[in-house]
């Protein structure tokens, strides 16, 4: 009788633990499928349904939790549809909801708290996602010529940049586009010192030949200098004496092409031996010894942890045409590869955290077995406890699933007046006519998320 009741309790626990809701990945499947089919409007509809709103003009009642991630996804789709103000609104709301996950070497306990508690808790983003929120939103503001809004995003980015720099986060390599755009924002705001500082940062992370002329021009108004500027000038071809000198009446055009999507996070299962190898530098000797002991006894055999999927091996090249003439796109940043690299750098701490939690679960099961006096009943209760804790402690595989995989820039000085721009990227293209006044500027953005 006692045994039957115990079995019953165990079955209930197992059923309770395994009866889960649809995962984050399941919920965004319809939107991602629509994007893959080149149907951003369909993706928008699917995301509105997930957010339980009638249209993109509405916000969900609760903007926290998973909804902050769905808003990030919707923001990128809105950018693809050129709905920049709504895209900005969604990004700004998410930016305030999402905190940064510390993936530094000494933060294993913190990682465990946020990455192994299933996907029901608050979402903590890796630094690269947080940095990209401000970068993408700067694009939104620049595309509608709003320097005030772009400056706010540039300042927000600077705060995050300092934070990631102080932490020694490997996501630093993703700072290039944000710094380039922040430099552009402050250049057009008449602040040469700040502009040069950001351009200097951009050059630390990427090759931007288009910065030669602006940096030369801004250096005449500022005392800011840098070895990177000197290096850039030394590699640049000498100005053609026959070429027309840049005039104050010239206008400037900046284009941005965002395409592809970063891979999704997946729950990865690895043998305990390999896990201990990954985590060796991140575990205390006592924890490592305990894990080794349990592994030897066969009590812990596999470890689950969240891993970023493999980036797509290659993408086609984007193109930029101005008034029928091909123009150069540069600074192509592989966001997906950089994100993968940043995640891999943090793998040791993540796996260490997973091992620690697994060991805790096994020890809890053993404690239940002892408390119930051992025997078949104790074994069953112990097994039930372990299964329940395991099911409730799955890796969190949420991520910003519509973050572009590639970002490229094109920048040219042009005569004031009307110009036709054609941008193309794998999965999307755009034709836009802009009319730029003398001394003015325009920014055109193409986002293709399939």
């Amino acid at each position: 009788m006692k045994l039957a009741r115990a079995a019953c309790v165990m079955m209930s626990l197992v059923a309770l633990a395994l009866a889960g809701c649809a995962s984050h990945s399941d919920k965004t499947l319809a939107a991602r499928t629509a994007l893959d089919a080149g149907d951003p409007k369909g993706a928008l509809k699917a995301l509105n349904e997930v957010l339980e709103v009638k249209s993109e003009k509405e916000l969900p009642k609760n903007v926290g939790g998973d909804n902050s991630l769905f808003l990030l996804d919707r923001a990128m789709v809105l950018q693809e549809l050129d709905q920049y103000p709504l895209s900005s609104r969604d990004l700004e709301i998410s930016d305030k909801q999402i905190e940064v996950l510390d993936l530094s070497a000494n933060a294993a306990a913190d990682i465990g708290r946020y990455l192994f508690s299933d996907d029901v808790g608050p979402y903590k983003a890796p630094a690269y996602e947080k940095l990209m929120i401000n970068t993408v939103n700067m694009m939104n503001y620049l595309a509608r010529s709003d320097l005030n809004g772009a400056r706010v995003e540039a300042r927000r980015l600077a705060v995050m940049q300092k934070y990631t720099h102080d932490k020694g986060d490997t996501a630093e390599s993703l700072l290039g586009p944000g710094s380039y755009l922040a430099g552009f924002v402050f250049e057009k705001s008449g602040k040469p010192d700040e502009a040069l500082r950001y351009y200097d940062e951009a050059l630390a992370y990427g090759q931007y030949q288009s910065l030669i002329e602006p940096i030369r021009r801004l250096s005449e108004k500022s005392s800011y200098s840098s070895p990177r500027f000197r290096e850039l000038f030394s590699k640049a071809p000498a100005p053609d004496p026959a070429a027309e000198a840049p005039s104050e009446d010239d206008a400037e055009l900046l284009v941005m092409v965002n395409f592809g999507r970063v891979p999704a996070k997946i729950a990865k299962r690895i043998p305990i031996g390999l896990a201990l190898t990954y985590a060796s530098a991140f575990m205390s000797p006592a924890n490592a010894a305990q894990a080794n002991r349990l592994a030897m006894q066969g009590l812990v055999t596999w470890i689950n942890y969240p891993e970023l999927g493999e980036p797509k091996s290659s993408y086609g090249r984007p193109t930029f045409m101005l008034d029928g003439q091909w123009q150069r796109l540069e600074g192509m940043l592989a966001v997906d590869r950089e994100a993968k690299r940043a995640w891999e750098q943090a793998r040791g701490a993540i796996v260490a955290s997973a091992i620690t939690r697994m060991v805790t679960r096994v020890l809890a099961g053993t404690a239940v077995e002892h408390a119930s006096g051992g025997g078949t009943l104790g074994a069953l209760l112990s097994l039930g406890t372990q299964i329940t804790m395991t099911a409730a402690d799955t890796p969190d595989t949420r991520n910003w699933s519509t973050l572009p995989a590639r970002i490229a820039f094109g920048r040219v000085r042009i005569k004031a007046g009307s110009h036709t721009i054609k941008l193309a990227a794998p999965g999307g293209n755009k034709r836009q006519t802009v009319n730029i006044p003398a001394g003015g500027w325009a920014v055109v953005c193409l986002t293709a998320l399939n």
């Binding site: 905190e99 510390d102 709003d146 706010v152 300042r155 705060v159 934070y163 102080d166 057009k188 008449g190």
Partner: protein, 158 residues
């Protein structure tokens, strides 16, 4: 709880600034002259998108000045073309030297303006943001700053 700046924080900083202005020598002088004054938008140099909230403060400053009874306030809203010009200049990058020129265009003797800026610190999981509001009174004829005061609000996530 957030480190953002809300309407209450802005009102608190503005209230302190306006109290300091009311007690300042420049207002004592205004009581004898009853001069014309205009309020220009406050610049946003923070990490928050608060431009519309700052615009709302223009009316609050005007109300305080009008109700104190020692100045005539000429609202920039009555000159939309100039308002547009001022906004465009704020967009493209602020130039302090233009303020006096705008004051002359409006036809006022003094201009009240200011800015809000922030100092943002992040360490581990803690974030501390200090917001400052500057209010200035400028003489349109001489561009001299006759009053300047700064208030602050600190927000932190610990």
């Amino acid at each position: 709880m957030s480190t953002g700046l809300d309407g209450r924080d802005l009102q608190k900083m503005l209230h302190e600034n306006m109290q300091a202005l009311q007690a300042s020598p420049v207002v004592a002088r205004w009581q004898k002259e009853t001069p014309t004054v205009s309020v220009l938008p406050l610049r946003n140099e923070t990490t928050e998108h608060i431009d519309s909230q700052l615009d709302a403060l223009i009316s609050d400053i005007e109300t305080t000045l009008v109700n104190a009874g020692h100045v005539q306030v000429i609202s920039l809203e009555s000159q939309p073309a100039l308002m547009e010009q001022v906004r465009k200049q704020y967009q493209d990058g602020f130039d302090q030297s233009k303020i006096a020129g705008w004051g002359k265009q409006i036809g006022v003797r003094y201009v009240v303006t200011g800015k809000v800026f922030a100092s943002d610190e992040r360490q581990n999981d803690e974030r501390r943001v200090q917001y400052f509001m500057f209010i200035q009174v400028l003489d349109v004829e001489t561009s001299a700053i006759l009053f300047q005061y700064k208030t602050s609000v600190t927000k932190a996530l610990i």
